[in-house]
């Protein structure tokens, strides 16, 4: 069993190392500008279906969100304009480096969170999700100390008990 775990860790390390070399560079201001401009447009587009109004209102429920989206679009246009100016004048753009290894690790953490949520929801027992969460993170961190497993699970159960019996949260 120990050998299997060691081999698994070694394989993960090799995979991690190769992923660590892979990086993605994104022009962050340009991306934010385009992305949120489109987002603001989409919100303005869905506004008539999503925000019901009365014809009698002088200032209706769409006024404020519309103002926000217009401000957002102006900001995005400024960001894009600034980056285009930089391209024309051959100045360096504002880049953001995204490391693939970090993103994969974040996805694994997200998976632990999602499974914790699903387990809690479908068993209707929060403590089941809490115990899975502890085990998931201890395995993620490659923890080999049995005492850590005992301590973490004990604290998790204690938190559940405190919410359940002291704060009367029904889960």
């Amino acid at each position: 069993m120990k050998e299997m775990v060691r081999a698994f860790h070694a394989r993960m390390d090799r995979w991690g190392e190769s992923l660590h070399q892979k990086e993605m560079r994104i022009p962050v201001d340009l991306t934010v500008g385009v992305l949120f401009f489109l987002f603001a447009l989409a919100i303005l587009f869905v506004m008539p279906q999503q925000v019901a109004i009365s014809e009698k209102d002088t200032v209706n429920g769409r006024a404020f969100p519309t103002l926000l989206m217009v401000v957002m679009m102006i900001c995005c246009a400024m960001l894009v304009g600034k980056e285009i100016y930089k391209i024309i004048t051959k100045q360096p753009l504002n880049w953001k480096v995204i490391n693939l290894q970090t993103e994969i690790k974040a996805l694994v953490i997200l998976a632990i969170l999602v499974v914790t949520y699903l387990l809690s929801r479908f068993t209707d027992l929060f403590v089941v999700g809490a115990i899975f969460c502890c085990l998931g993170f201890l395995v993620y961190f490659r923890c080999k100390k049995p005492s850590y497993y005992v301590i973490t699970i004990t604290i998790a159960v204690a938190i559940w008990a405190a919410f359940r019996f002291v704060l009367n949260v029904d889960f």
Binding site: V32, T58, V59, L79, T102, I109
Partner: protein, 506 residues
């Protein structure tokens, strides 16, 4: 003022309040002592707990966390040269060198004394200045209030990230999210996308758990697991401070407390700015500037008194105008509003007894912080060495339990998860989360005042420029934006010059 003090004292000195103050101080000290865990994260995690409480114990608990966080951050800064909170960075410069000289307990004691003085001074300033500022705030109408909200949002958007434009995009996003649910004036539903649970809107605590807490869990992917082990043998000094050292501390402590209050009143500037500014001022005025950076008692005292002197001062614009000075107090504003307490003069008149109880409570919080610091610092120091393997799942469980407990359903947990993912994406795009938080907190107030003002003027937007207060706030917005842009431009220029100098030396 005096007519409120007596009933306020009666409301404050109950066993329940004293208990919650002490729990808050303990939790805040422990959280802030752990590097990587911030005070804002702690306040967010425990915000749902206050939902079941009345205003005074709830606020006492949160203020306990907030104030003790100022001191707790210095514990790890002094012991392991890693600030538990960003504003303890200036303390680290002299705290750790003094600790390495074998005077760890003395360094912690100086930090505690200075923090307590700064905190009490700030609380007294709040007590005396708060009602005066509230009288001015009472003269503001709906259009003026809208301008105040815009002013607060612009400053926070400007100082939160590297770019004011990106900050504004974040603020707009936060304000838009606050629009989800029932229209505050007509009760029609907005942006619910056919999901019945969204009719009531998104709960602030749930959104914040995702935006600030779960994203920190995802951020574990960015770091390597490094265990922080503390050599507790360091704590074996007698902690004695000489009379000469006490004398040397007096001036920097008083001056830094004043600086802390002045910095704290300005929205957007916080404990970090106050502590660095005070540290530099103390260094410039010291008779022993050569000791700074090598374990100067004046350095520790200046930084610590300043960062705690901010705590009460940030509450002045919050309680009078509804402008939160930083993210943490923005959350406190929501805790107040849940109890039907809205910022402004009415808070100091109609709800005067409650308000004065909270302000007096802030003094009490600092005194209990002092007592706990005197007797429990060794315990706080041990907390620094809690391994990440244990801490991470515990925080997640707290987040999920907190999100669930708000409305006792798993939909909120899913919302927190969605906000966690959103915050991760925003982090990758360098969009600051604090303006989103402010947008969420101020959203309803901003929109209501915006629409009411337009209704009064029959849709004429010139109402936002008519009164003298509107003009003052517009001028302040322009000045603030100008100052922020100038500051950022200077920063960029300095960074470019440094990069060019490095290139040349290579």
């Amino acid at each position: 003022m005096l007519q409120y003090i007596v009933p306020a004292t009666g409301l404050l000195f109950t066993l329940e309040n004293i208990l919650w103050i002490n729990i808050g101080v303990f939790v805040g000290s422990v959280f802030a002592a752990i590097p990587g865990l911030s005070v804002i994260l702690c306040v967010i995690l425990f915000l749902p707990v206050t939902y079941t409480m009345t205003a005074i114990p709830g606020m006492m608990f949160l203020l306990g966390i907030y104030c003790a966080g100022g001191y707790g951050g210095s514990v790890s800064a002094i012991l392991i040269n890693t600030p538990g909170t960003p504003h303890a960075a200036a303390t680290m410069l002299d705290g750790h060198p003094l600790s390495r000289k074998g005077r760890t307990k003395a360094a912690l004691k100086i930090a505690l004394y200075a923090s307590t003085f700064g905190g009490v001074f700030s609380a007294l300033m709040l007590l005396f200045l708060g009602p005066q500022v509230a009288k001015i705030a009472a003269q503001l109408g709906t259009a003026e209030y809208f301008m105040v909200c815009v002013f607060g949002l612009t400053i926070i958007a400007g100082v939160s990230g590297k770019s004011i434009i990106r900050g504004l995009v974040s603020a707009c996003l936060g304000l838009l999210i606050s629009c989800i649910g029932t229209d505050p004036m007509t009760s029609y539903d907005r942006f619910t996308f056919g999901i019945p649970r969204l009719y009531l809107g998104l709960d602030l605590a749930v959104c914040l758990i995702g935006l600030f807490a779960l994203v920190e869990i995802l951020a574990k992917a960015e770091k390597k697991l490094g265990e922080l082990r503390l050599d507790t043998a360091k704590m074996h000094d007698d902690g004695k401070i000489s009379r000469q050292e006490y004398k040397r501390m007096v001036r920097p402590v008083i001056m830094s407390s004043i600086i802390g209050v002045l910095v704290g009143i300005i929205p957007g500037t916080g404990a970090s700015e106050a502590s660095w500014f005070s540290y530099n001022t103390a260094k410039n005025l010291s008779k022993h500037p050569e000791e700074f950076g090598n374990g100067s008692v004046e350095g520790i005292a200046a930084a610590e008194s300043a960062n705690n002197a901010v705590t009460g001062a940030t509450l002045i614009p919050l309680l009078t105008l509804g402008i939160p000075g930083d993210g943490t107090v923005a959350i406190m504003l929501s805790a107040l509003m849940i109890n039907g307490l809205n910022p402004g003069l009415s808070l100091f008149t109609t709800d005067g007894d409650i308000m004065y109880a909270i302000m007096l409570g802030l003094i009490l919080v600092n005194l209990f912080m002092f007592i706990q610091g005197r007797f429990l610092t060794t315990l706080f120091a041990k907390v620094v060495s809690i391994p990440q393997e244990i801490l991470t799942p515990i925080i997640v469980i707290f987040c999920f339990a907190g999100a669930y407990s708000v409305n006792e359903n798993y939909f909120d947990v899913a919302v927190a998860l969605v906000f966690g993912i959103l915050a991760w994406i925003l982090r990758k795009l360098d969009l600051p989360p604090v303006p989103i938080l402010l947008g969420l907190v101020l959203g309803r107030m901003t929109e209501t005042n915006f629409r009411r003002a337009l209704l009064i003027s029959n849709g004429d937007p010139s109402i936002f420029l008519k009164s003298i207060y509107c003009k003052i706030f517009l001028a302040l917005i322009i000045i603030a934006v100008g100052a922020i842009v100038r500051g950022k431009w200077k920063e960029q220029k300095a960074a470019k010059a440094a990069a060019a100098a490095q290139k040349e030396s290579n």
